[in-house]
């Protein structure tokens, strides 16, 4: 188990370094720069001074090493688009709405999806099974901005129950949370259903019934636990994916979250912010997959203890 953890940590570090190099190179390979003449009509001498001030006159590998050295000390630099604060300050301000809405979306959508998938698997070919399949298909095929528009149309425009957008009051959080919950709900309903059916078809489930366990023990003690193993590997990464904000949902509901900065940092060649976003999200995904692997191993004695 300890060897397993060390191997996983090593592979995460490698992933992290490779991603950082790739992104850094790609970011600078895009033609143009943050202080081009079109953006900033100043004399060449002034431009050279600004470039030197931000270290942009140095060779690329020096810039990379310098930035990564800062990252190791939790210094992600100063965003070009908002020089009055550090990248860390900007992110901790902008991340809160995304974290609240995305987190709430997953925490509401995933359990509902699990319950729906469970009911579907236990009542195969019943109305609830068809409902679950329909919801799962809709949730995965309808783009989230269409769902967002429908929500605004129905609940804000027609019924007038909830505000269409904004971040000021908790009522305005409800619609974006529903929009955020759609994908985890659909994914989880589908995963749970197929994982449950997979387990229910295993011979050992027949043995459990044949030895006289009650159906409740068969399902809740054995089938659920076996089905949970493939599901833990999906949950944490999905949580990160949703909690880092969705450009579409945030744009539709005018939420001042992280999503908008993904686009603006690339458009305005805001290298420090762009790098910081990529690195932090990469790290979060790596940690999420790492934790998922640990949970997988803890649940599964064949991995925890090794063996055939």
């Amino acid at each position: 188990m300890i060897g397993y953890i060390v191997r996983r940590l090593l592979s995460i570090s490698v992933t992290f370094v490779v991603v950082s190099i790739l992104v850094f190179v790609m970011m600078h390979a895009i033609p143009g720069g943050p202080f081009d003449a079109t953006e900033m009509p100043v004399s060449e001498a002034v431009r050279a001074k600004i470039m030197a001030q931000y270290g942009l006159d140095q060779p690329l590998y020096m810039q990379y090493l310098k930035y990564m050295w800062g990252v190791l000390h939790f210094d992600f630099g100063v965003p070009f688009q908002s020089p009055g604060e550090t990248v860390i300050e900007l992110l901790s301000r902008a991340w809160i709405p995304s974290l609240v809405l995305g987190g709430a979306g997953v925490l509401i959508g995933a359990p509902l999806g699990i319950i729906l998938g469970l009911c579907a698997a236990l009542n195969r070919n019943s109305w609830i099974d068809y409902l679950a399949s329909a919801l799962a298909t809709l949730g995965l095929t309808i783009p989230v901005f269409v769902i967002s528009m429908l929500l605004i149309l129905v609940f804000a425009v027609w019924l007038g129950w909830l505000p269409a957008s904004g971040w000021g009051s908790p009522e305005s959080w409800i619609l974006p949370i529903i929009a955020y919950a759609a994908i985890p709900l659909a994914t989880y309903a589908r995963y749970t259903r197929s994982a449950m059916l997979d387990t229910l078809n295993k011979p050992f489930v027949t043995v459990l019934r044949a030895k006289g366990l009650s159906e409740r023990d068969v399902i809740f003690k054995h089938v659920l636990r076996n089905s949970a193993i493939p599901m833990v590997t999906v949950f944490l990464p999905m949580f990160i994916g949703t909690a880092t904000g969705s450009i579409f949902v945030e744009a539709m509901f005018r939420v001042p979250g992280l999503g908008a900065y993904f686009v603006s940092s690339i458009e305005s060649r805001d290298y420090p912010l762009e790098m910081a976003l990529v690195l932090i999200i990469t790290l979060m995904f790596c940690v999420a997959y790492f934790l998922a692997d640990i949970a997988y191993a803890l649940l599964n004695p064949r991995i925890r203890l090794g063996g055939k």
Partner: protein, 321 residues
């Protein structure tokens, strides 16, 4: 009162292509303490019949009909769901073909055996564990303490099948149904497991039904035998009579196909042709396609089981007294 009473049992499964008629009009009985072998090829309906007896077939797809389906006096057709659990494992236990797939991979052997005890007896957990340990000793499990704290993947197939037998017998059932218990095991282990099942049956006086396609297995462990083909009973007799004087052409062909009967003959004797399509079983004898003696009557008319002597019944139009 017989231990097992099955009368006119039919089982069909709904499939996209229509109704699969897995078992057609099967009747059999077993008295307390007796042993019965059910022999047939894959798809002959031998396992399905007994799964139907314990009501273990999926309710959505399987239709079970019978005029009588009783286990130790309990009417399994009308038995409510919560009482079925009390019959399974306590009155009748099952062991299956693949011991590796028969245990929940996430629980230790001890947990899986004690939960069986706790499902049927109102005893403390430590008392249940005591019973498990003594049962593992009874099935001659090597190093039972280590086995108890092992997960299924840490044990060999032979050890798992011993554990499975221990789990099946721990609540002292009145009948053990063994569904191809040795098919997935090495030949040497096969013999040990059969010996063990036979010994335990003698010791406990329980009934035994051994489902197999291996005539050698039944010859060693049971007294009576039912030969099934195409979802129907072809012949019903004692093991001795079957080997000495098989009447049904299928039973004769089956015995002739056992390897090593004729010295020097290398090639396996086989029965030409294939089993009938269970989606559209023939109106007549299911074996007529492959039977050397079949004539026009066999194609049209379904033979019924006819008695020939006290212990022998055959369903064949060509077998006359």
């Amino acid at each position: 009162m017989p231990l097992v009473e099955i009368e006119n049992l039919s089982v069909s499964f709904s499939s996209p292509d229509g109704q699969v008629q897995a078992v057609r009009d099967v009747s059999l009985t077993l008295e307390h303490g007796q042993s019965l072998g059910i022999v047939g090829e894959s798809g002959s309906g031998k396992s399905v019949s007994l799964m139907a007896l314990l009501r273990l077939l999926p309710t959505q797809s399987a239709t079970v009909r019978a005029t009588k389906l009783r286990l130790d006096g309990v009417d399994m057709l009308t038995c409510p769901k919560n009482e079925l659990a009390g019959v399974r494992g306590k009155v009748a236990s099952l062991i299956f073909q693949d011991p590796m797939a028969s245990f929940d991979p996430l629980f230790k052997i001890a947990d899986q055996l004690t939960e069986t005890v706790l499902a049927h007896f109102d005893v403390s957990k430590s008392e249940a564990e005591q019973r498990v340990l003594s049962m593992l000793n009874r099935v001659e499990m090597p190093d039972p303490n280590r086995v108890m704290s092992s997960y299924p993947h840490q044990l060999s197939g032979g050890m798992l099948q011993r554990a499975m037998i221990a789990m099946a017998l721990i609540c002292e059932p009145k009948i053990l149904i063994a569904d191809e218990p040795t098919t997935a095991l090495d030949v040497t282990v096969q013999a040990q497991i059969l010996q063990l099942i036979g010994d335990l049956q003698q010791e406990t006086g329980m009934g035994l039904i051994m489902i197999t396609h291996d005539l050698g297995v039944v010859a060693e462990t049971v007294n009576d035998i039912v030969v099934m083909y195409g979802g129907k009973v072809m012949e019903q007799t004692t093991v001795f009579d079957l080997f000495e004087a098989p009447r049904h052409p299928y039973a004769q062909a089956l015995l002739a196909s056992i390897p090593g009967q004729v010295a020097g003959k290398r090639k396996l004797r086989e029965i030409p042709g294939q089993a009938p399509n269970p989606l559209a079983p023939p109106a007549g004898c299911p074996f007529h396609f492959r039977c050397e003696k079949a004539d026009a009557k066999c194609v049209e008319q379904m033979p019924v089981l006819q008695r020939f002597g006290p212990n022998h019944a055959t369903a064949c139009l060509k077998v006359m007294s």
